[in-house]
Symmetry: C3
Subunit: 139 residues, 3 copies
């Protein structure tokens, strides 16, 4: 039984979803992990990790459009306004989703379904550099 | 320290919650797992895994009714419409909940509270066959 | 490789967020865990675990205010009303967030970002005593 850690630094282009399944798969392959548990932890409070459909790109656009309507930037309800109109809405979008994921790895492959990809969801309007910590335990 | 994998295939009867705590518990007992971590990963993007109250069945009906009102089937906002009125809403319901869960196992028992059960939440209107990958690491 | 379990019992003062990062960190330090995976599981269905901003306290007030508007206590949609106006809304708030978290621990430190704290989010109006099961696997 062994463990390994890694950190991915992912650049975003502002609000929206960016797939990074390939970066995660590459780390598994480089280390020749066979069987175990992979955990991803995003070290931010205004972006999310999400497993979603990797086929039609309209799904990602619709996800983002729905969340933009559900959680309005600059909602007059918000007290926390000093970091801009999209900051408190970004925190709420993060609370409604997740910042960590745990995915089994079996015979060298993530247990993802055929249509599942791993996404970083940027909730701020401006581009950011986002850090995702990876942990593997297994063989 | 050891690991084990399993896959449950669960039939759904269309939109709604189905408990499968018993199937998970049976796998733990058959393998005589004592102490460790159980991870469940659902291999789909239009259904969820959820830990919820297992007492009053009205709770599940209310959860589903609330989500149906929050995320409308056939919302004119959606671009992704080719797979039917309930497909994009199903993806959003999945994003608002989760597809993986990690639950400690201690002295052979899941660390669930008295009122907690493990549910598969089908978000599509039609019945589906859903695959849940299980992973255990521990002793 | 070793494992350990612990249970934190946290008192809440009614609806709202309470940070308990310090209690988790203390358990890691007392046990001299170096590298591994920490899992937290909340044993209730009307409260959540959340990783959120630990700087401006207004963020927590806004989170709670947004959720109170999104999921109305006593919504006439609800069938499950026997436990009070805030019970079914609490179950929905739990479904929209999470009851378990998995965070890597590296060289004795949680992989949390600078602004991340671990919170218990009480969704009921009255104070409660909430049980969080902790599990560590690693070295």
């Amino acid at each position: 039984m062994r463990q390994a850690f890694h950190e991915l630094i992912l650049a975003t282009r502002g609000r929206g979803l960016r797939e990074f399944t390939a970066e995660v798969t590459r780390w598994i392959e480089e280390n020749e992990f066979s069987d175990g548990l992979l955990t991803l932890h995003l070290r931010h409070t205004s972006a999310s990790l999400l497993i979603q459909e990797n086929a039609d790109p309209d799904v990602r656009l619709d996800l983002d459009a729905f969340f933009a309507r559900l959680v309005r930037d600059g909602d007059p309800l918000f007290r926390h306004t000093v970091e801009g109109d999209d900051d408190m809405s970004a925190h709420i979008r993060t609370a409604l989703t997740a910042v960590n994921l745990s995915i089994p790895v079996q015979t060298g492959r993530l247990a993802l379904g055929t249509w599942q990809g791993i996404y970083l969801w940027e909730h701020r309007q401006q581009p950011h550099s986002r850090h995702v910590r990876l942990h593997f335990i297994g063989e």
